[in-house]
């Protein structure tokens, strides 16, 4: 069996058996959907829930991805990483297994959130939208998990990692197009939001409500994700030899 898959399955098994962790990660995005999506009075749209759902799906992936590096931190601290590095399978497969695990875990969590959104009354335009949303979330997840695993290589302990994570996650979310459309943002926020990759992912999913699809946006996200995978592979190789 491919080593990437072996590492992936190990992490999946451990995660699913964690039980509490499986559900606790869903509470925050679910709370956003219910307490903000259903309750916030807005003038720019008839259904704020429809507007915010893509943002919350991306938020789910954002927190899953950013938090994912801690899995590598623990492997490092507890001595697993050294054992894995002494194995004959290609060392990068440790990194790719992690990226795959963090991304797939995020997709599973996003699926639950998507289901919840539909139950709350969000509109699904077509099966193609769902499929495309998964594709965007996957690419976005790869981008984030490569970043967070690279970060994990350099941070010494879990506290430090959690601090950096908190420092980045919330600002990334609030400076994106998750909560309001560009035309109601103040000019300074609009400028930031346009450059924020979190917005790119949200806009792509949202674009199904008003086609055509912005393929250039997708290409940009794809390119950024590829660059991040390359960068984290390079760092991983440098740190582990």
């Amino acid at each position: 069996m491919n080593a990437v898959l072996v590492y992936f399955l190990r992490d999946m098994r451990r995660w699913v058996r964690g039980r509490l962790n499986v559900w606790s990660a869903l509470i925050m995005p679910a709370a956003w959907l219910i307490f903000v999506g259903l309750a916030l009075p807005t003038r720019f749209t008839d259904s704020y829930l429809d507007f915010i759902t893509p943002g919350i799906l991306v938020l789910t992936m954002l927190s899953a991805g950013m938090q994912g590096g801690s899995s590598l931190i623990f492997d490092k601290i507890l001595g697993f990483l050294n054992k894995f590095l002494a194995l004959p399978s290609p060392r990068e497969s440790i990194l790719y297994g992690k990226i795959l695990f963090i991304t797939v875990r995020g997709l599973l969590q996003a699926s639950v959130i998507m289901l919840l959104a539909v139950l709350l009354g969000a509109t699904i335009f077509s099966p193609a939208q769902v499929g495309f949303s998964y594709l965007v979330l996957f690419v976005f997840g790869v981008l984030l998990s490569s970043f967070s695993t690279a970060l994990a290589l350099f941070v010494q302990d879990h506290d430090g990692y959690a601090a950096v994570n908190a420092l980045l996650s919330m600002p990334l979310f609030f400076t994106s197009s998750a909560l309001m459309p560009y035309d109601v943002m103040p000019a300074w926020l609009r400028a930031i939001a346009r450059c924020n990759p979190v917005s790119w992912a949200i806009d792509l999913i949202r674009s199904f409500a008003a086609p055509p699809l912005p393929w250039t946006g997708f290409a940009a996200l794809l390119l950024l994700a590829a660059a991040m995978v390359a960068a984290s592979s390079l760092l991983f190789r440098r740190v582990t030899v």
């Binding site: 072996v6 098994r13 451990r14 002494a86």
Partner: protein, 317 residues
């Protein structure tokens, strides 16, 4: 072909010379590397297991260079670090199967075989979170053995285990050695090294200061060990071939070339100083004494260099 060969192996961390010009040849034996904390044991093991690049010198393991043919080396060795890293949310069998898959070992048979070998067959399907420390260590050995390595590296294999657990681990190591495997261990436990190792190397401040069979090293120290219990710290009197080598509380440890002939003179000299002797004990030297004589006391030397230490820890991860 010699299983482990090191030639001038050296590793620097900034200003710190962690391993200094190490020459070594180990083959089909249980070899113990002994040394105080920070003496370079783990750094040596990390270089031999391809986890750390030497600053200078070369090493070959199973006939392959640890830098240029690292992947080949990794196919032929197993490394069990001291951290005791097994996935507690997986069963024993899943833990071993995971390594079998990574080593490219096919089939359930080998997994069952190593679990049986380590006496874990009846608990194989329990989560390892329910295992005792000794069982977890044996599970790590099972993982390490699944691909039938030629050389096994064990870092402090009995750390934190109870007496029965330690004995079980050493028994298994002896079995593996009889099967023709080369086993390289680091340990703090001198009595265990004395019994279990064919040869030991003593490393101090990065330098290999002695390498021989434990009994030969004990003979090299020669003489006897005399321990006196006194009412106050004994002054360092030197009588004939007797000299003070250490103090622990009210106990003073002497080395004597010939205890029977020299102890009476020592007692007389002490009573002249007004020291009251309350107890006397004579024994042959242990590996501990060899170790202290060769490596010095652990807290000896300069102050703790925090920067070098941090540097070293960082490089390890």
């Amino acid at each position: 072909m010699v299983a482990i060969e090191a030639d001038g192996l050296t590793r620097r961390f900034g200003d710190l010379l962690a391993v200094d010009d190490l020459d070594l040849a180990v083959d089909r034996e249980v070899f113990g590397l002994l040394g105080p904390n920070g003496s370079g044991k783990t750094t040596t093991v990390l270089m031999l297991t391809t986890l750390l690049r030497p600053s200078a010198g070369t090493a070959r393991v199973s006939g392959h260079d640890v830098v240029r043919e690292a992947a080949r080396v990794r196919e032929r060795i197993s490394y069990v670090p001291q951290d005791m890293a097994v996935d507690i949310k997986l069963t024993g069998r899943e833990n071993v199967r995971f390594y079998a898959a990574l080593y490219g070992v096919a089939g359930r048979d080998r997994v069952d075989e190593v679990l049986g070998l380590m006496d874990l067959a009846d608990r194989a399907d329990d989560l390892t979170g329910t295992y005792s420390g000794g069982m977890r260590r044996r599970l790590e050995l099972a993982q390490a053995l699944v691909h039938e390595p030629e050389v096994l590296f064990l870092d402090e294999p009995t750390l934190g285990l109870d007496v029965a657990g330690r004995r079980a681990i050493w028994d298994h190591i002896a079995d593996l050695r009889r099967g023709g495997m080369t086993i390289f261990v680091t340990t703090h436990y001198m009595d265990e090294a004395d019994q279990a190792c064919d040869r030991v190397g003593v490393i101090a401040r990065g330098r290999l200061v002695a390498i021989d069979a434990p009994a030969a090293l004990r003979r090299r120290i020669g003489g006897e060990r005399v321990v006196l219990r006194t009412d106050r710290p004994a002054p360092p009197v030197a009588v004939g071939g007797i000299r003070l080598v250490g103090r622990e509380g009210d106990r003073s440890v002497y080395h004597a070339d010939d205890a029977a002939a020299e102890v009476p003179a020592l007692l007389a000299a002490l009573s002249e100083e007004g020291v009251v002797v309350r107890g006397l004990e004579v024994s042959s030297p242990t590996l501990d004494d060899v170790f202290l004589a060769l490596a010095g006391r652990q807290d000896e030397g300069g102050g703790f260099d925090y920067r070098s230490f941090r540097n070293m820890i960082r490089r390890r991860h």
